[in-house]
């Protein structure tokens, strides 16, 4: 098996690495390392066992990276963990065989399996923030596996950690490990977790969505670090993700899963260019959905006008500084930025949850009271919200009927038959059959359906503006696309304006008319979409746009060549700040 991706990334002093690493002959490439046959895994749901994986085969060769792709519920993580002979509580492997380097994992007892885990097969979890123990320093957690498995002494392990931290471009590698997990940023933590997985120089690493929780600019540094190290140590890896473009950068071969079944499998290049199955094609197509930009309206009072707003929470630090932009009738303004840029804070100021220190919010030319308590019911009715987590935004004890009826009753005074008809109308509008859904509880709905109920609840108040706060971030791509199309349709039917908060530039491309780019509480750039996606850009916008992975397996290599390894994520932002 040869690598499909040419080795372009600069590898830094491999000789030094080998000297410090534990003595172990570099394995030959090409032998089979992991062979899983006809794997069946069942999970317990209430009292019955349901199928999670139905008979999947998986082969992995030494030094190869296999990408596992699929939506939530496809069984990617379950399959990845099964490669370690591990099942989460409430799951069991009911059939099949797992052979790792000639050993049969299904026949092994618990202590022999423990011997393998961490030493020869390591795991990198999705959320490093949750998967590092908050009570111990990073270095202690790094050294744990080498000590438990008796691979090297504490001193050697610490030295090795410093070496790896350095290679991962972590700041001051000598002292980095002396910090607690909460003392470093998300991107650094994810790299520290990759370093931890390498601590015993394993033959196989399972990466379980390692960059999903990160911002795009941070994602690149982690991807670069992982790619570099996997190549250098010739480690085999299973890379699990729902993001095709990311997997395309990392994997030699891609396997697509759907509801516990394999859809297809092919080398990355072929998979990208010519997927053979309809399902795979539909996954690929999602990113191509774009809406036509609506023509700009001139000389019209904006529906919402944010005027020089400066705001912050309890401490004296301003989270927003002099933020101004307008939202016009029947237009979608996308507010883009990374975590901590002040997007959601802007929404809180607009809704009156957070009174600004300076500046004001105007609604159709008239200044709104700063606090929602002082706004009239009519003023409140015009601005509604849809939230990221439909799960927590819907009261789990209320039926769909009551959830949607409440705003219609409160703002419009509907009762009895009129109210019931209105609820049914609203359900039709969000494409859910009233007779089927009206008496259900939120827990009986899927993620996408819950988000639709959230939308129905917002439009029940007959608002003018809806603030959508990351409404598609928690959803699978196909489901998210459905939600975006629905929002589009409702906008033209009901003359709505949207303030659409998101960190995902693909979503912006799909729905926005205008774009506002925020960074650290400032608006760095704003304008209509067609201009924003064309150069010249503000350097930060350029960094953001350039950091979005493309559906091209060479993209990361090209980017690394042009930017250089030391000019990614945090480092690039720091440099940019210095210049400006």
């Amino acid at each position: 098996m040869t690598k499909a991706i040419p080795t372009k990334a600069k590898t830094k002093t491999p000789a030094k690495a080998k000297a410090k690493a534990p003595a172990k002959a570099k394995p030959k490439q090409g032998d089979i390392l992991l062979q899983m046959r006809n794997i069946h895994i069942k999970g317990k749901s209430d009292e019955s066992w349901i199928d999670i994986i139905n008979g999947i085969d998986l082969d992995l060769y030494r030094g190869e990276v296999l990408g596992l792709i699929g939506e939530s519920g496809a069984g990617k993580s379950t399959l990845g963990l099964a490669a370690m002979g591990f099942c989460r509580d409430g799951c069991k492997i009911t059939d099949g065989s797992i052979s790792f380097d000639g050993m049969d994992l299904m026949q092994m007892d618990k202590s022999s399996l423990r011997e393998l885990r961490g030493k020869r097969i390591a795991y990198v979890a999705q959320s490093a923030a949750a998967s590092f123990n908050p009570a111990h320093k990073l270095l202690d957690q790094f050294c744990e596996a080498p000590l438990v498995h008796d691979v090297m002494s504490r001193n050697d392990a610490s030295q090795y950690a410093i070496d790896l931290y350095d290679r991962m471009n972590l700041p001051s590698p000598e002292t980095f490990g002396l910090r607690y997990p909460h003392e470093v940023s998300g991107g650094q933590l994810q790299r520290a977790m990759t370093a931890m997985a390498l601590s015993c120089r394993p033959d196989l690493i399972i990466f379980d969505e390692p960059t999903t929780a990160l911002d795009v600019t941070t994602q690149i540094e982690v991807l670069a670090a992982i790619k570099d190290i996997v190549k250098e140590f010739n480690t085999a890896a299973i890379y699990i993700s729902h993001d095709l473009a990311v997997v395309a950068q990392m994997a030699d071969r891609i396997k697509v899963l759907l509801k516990g079944d394999e859809v297809e499998q092919a080398p990355t290049e072929i998979m990208l260019k010519k997927p053979s199955q309809e399902y795979t094609k539909s996954l690929w197509a999602v990113r191509e959905h774009t809406r036509k930009e609506q023509p700009a309206v001139k000389n019209q009072t904006p529906v919402i006008s944010i005027k020089s707003v400066t705001a912050g929470y309890h401490s004296s630090v301003d989270v927003l500084r002099d933020v101004s932009f307008d939202i016009h009738k029947r237009r979608t303004v996308a507010v883009v930025g990374e975590s901590g840029s002040g997007k959601s804070t802007t929404a809180r100021v607009v809704t009156g949850l957070l009174p600004p220190r300076m500046g004001s919010i105007e609604f159709q030319g008239e200044t709104l009271p700063a606090q929602y308590q002082s706004r009239s019911r009519e003023q409140l009715r015009h601005i509604q919200m849809i939230y990221q987590m439909a799960d927590t935004a819907l009261n789990p004890k209320l039926r769909i009927r009551d959830l949607i009826a409440r705003p219609a009753k409160m703002y419009l005074g509907l009762t009895g038959k009129a109210l019931d008809d209105r609820v049914r109308d609203l359900l039709h509008m969000i494409e859910m059959e009233p007779d089927q859904f009206i008496d259900r509880l939120p827990s009986e709905l899927s993620g996408g359906q819950k988000q639709r109920i959230g939308i129905a609840r917002a439009i029940a108040a007959e608002p003018t503006v809806i603030i959508c706060d990351e409404v598609t971030s928690a959803l699978d791509q196909l489901v998210a696309e459905g939600i975006l199309k629905l929002l589009d349709r409702l906008q033209s039917e009901l003359d709505l304006s949207y303030m659409f908060i998101t960190h995902d530039l693909a979503t912006v491309r799909a729905i926005a008319d205008e774009v506002v780019v925020m960074k650290d509480g400032d608006v760095v750039e704003q304008g209509i979409k067609s201009k924003m996606f064309k150069p010249p850009h503000h350097p930060y916008t350029e960094l953001l746009l350039g950091s979005v992975p493309e559906m091209d397996s060479k993209w990361l290599d090209r980017l690394l060549d042009s930017r250089g390894k030391d000019n990614l994520g945090d480092a690039a932002i720091a440099k940019m700040n210095k210049k400006s």
């Binding site: 795991y123 998967s131 590092f132 909460h182 003392e183």
Partner: protein, 317 residues
């Protein structure tokens, strides 16, 4: 670091405030008791003149707020006033008793706290197994039996057969080793009473933590289950456990009256009961305030321990 000192000072201030409020409450509730102290003391000889004289002597003729401030001022200087029944300074009465009570508390704590932690950790390690069920059932039965009943059972099994004395009547001259021997049965009785609570909280707190992703990570690093519990779960479960331990220790100081009586142990509880019996108001007030301080102090300590064992609070970014 300075954050933590600030936090401790704040808690300390709140603790003092709580104690002040409690002292007021104690004072007012004793004040609200029916009957006149002077008349009670004089009994048969309560002529108006005598009553007036006694009232003047005890300062009862002063307005309530002056008496409260005098009492509080005395307390702060370690002067608890005089016992009415025994006509002796209360501090002299309390000191040896307090020592005894603290001794018994510490003795019990040294057995009960490690026992509860170990049993709790073992129960979480073998959760839903036989060990877990048996230790849970035993602990629950122990806590459900009244203390005097447990005490008499202890006496029946261990004292009647002659292994341990049934009376824990110690005095300041008793050598330490003898004290340990003599007080073994009351300490064991109290252990049975408080262990269940602490053990079940340890088990619950650890099992809560075991569901978190970093525990799965530890398992996937090939760490042995025992090490996972002790090194990965326990440090993150300290806060709830420390709080329950503090509550139980406070209970040991304040709530052991019945056990003291069963074993004839000269502790603070008996002193308070006697004070109530003889309407010895200053003694009741003094012991009540000591009990209150024990509760406030131990809870303060629990707060501080759960803060300094949490790196997220100790080293804020």
């Amino acid at each position: 670091m300075s954050n933590v000192i600030k936090m401790i000072l704040k808690r300390l201030g709140l603790g003092v405030l709580t104690l002040l409020l409690l002292s007021l409450l104690i004072f007012l509730s004793v004040e609200a008791l029916p009957g006149d102290l002077a008349e009670t003391i004089l009994g048969q000889q309560a002529t108006p003149e005598n009553v007036a004289a006694i009232r003047k002597e005890l300062g009862l003729d002063l307005p309530a707020h002056t008496r409260y401030l005098n009492w509080l001022g005395g307390m702060l200087q370690g002067d608890f006033g005089n016992s009415l029944a025994l006509k002796k300074p209360i501090s002299g009465l309390i000191a040896p008793r307090l020592q005894n009570t603290l001794f018994l508390t510490l003795y019990t704590a040294c057995i009960a706290v490690p026992l509860a932690l170990i049993l709790g950790m073992a129960a979480s390690l073998f959760r839903n197994g036989y060990f877990d069920r048996i230790s849970n059932a035993t602990a629950l039965s122990a806590i459900s039996m009244p203390e005097f009943f447990v005490g008499y059972i202890m006496i029946y099994f261990f004292a009647l057969s002659g292994y341990f004395p049934s009376m824990a009547n110690i005095n300041p001259n008793t050598p330490f080793i003898d004290k340990l021997y003599v007080c073994f049965l009351p300490a064991l009785t109290l252990t049975l009473v408080v262990t269940a609570h602490m053990m079940r909280m340890t088990r619950a707190a650890i099992i809560n933590v075991l569901a978190l992703p970093y525990i799965e990570m530890a398992n996937l690093k090939g760490v042995k289950p025992r090490r996972v519990i002790v090194l990965h779960a326990l440090p993150n479960a300290v806060a709830p456990i420390v709080n329950v331990v503090a509550l139980n220790l406070a209970y040991l100081i304040t709530g052991v009256v019945i056990v003291e009586i069963v074993f004839v142990f000269p502790g603070l509880g008996q002193l308070m009961v006697d004070g109530v019996k003889f309407r010895d108001v200053p003694v009741v007030q003094a012991t009540a305030l000591i009990f209150a301080s024990a509760y406030v102090g131990l809870n303060l300590l629990a707060d501080i321990i759960s803060t300094i064992t949490n790196p997220r609070l100790m080293r804020q970014r």
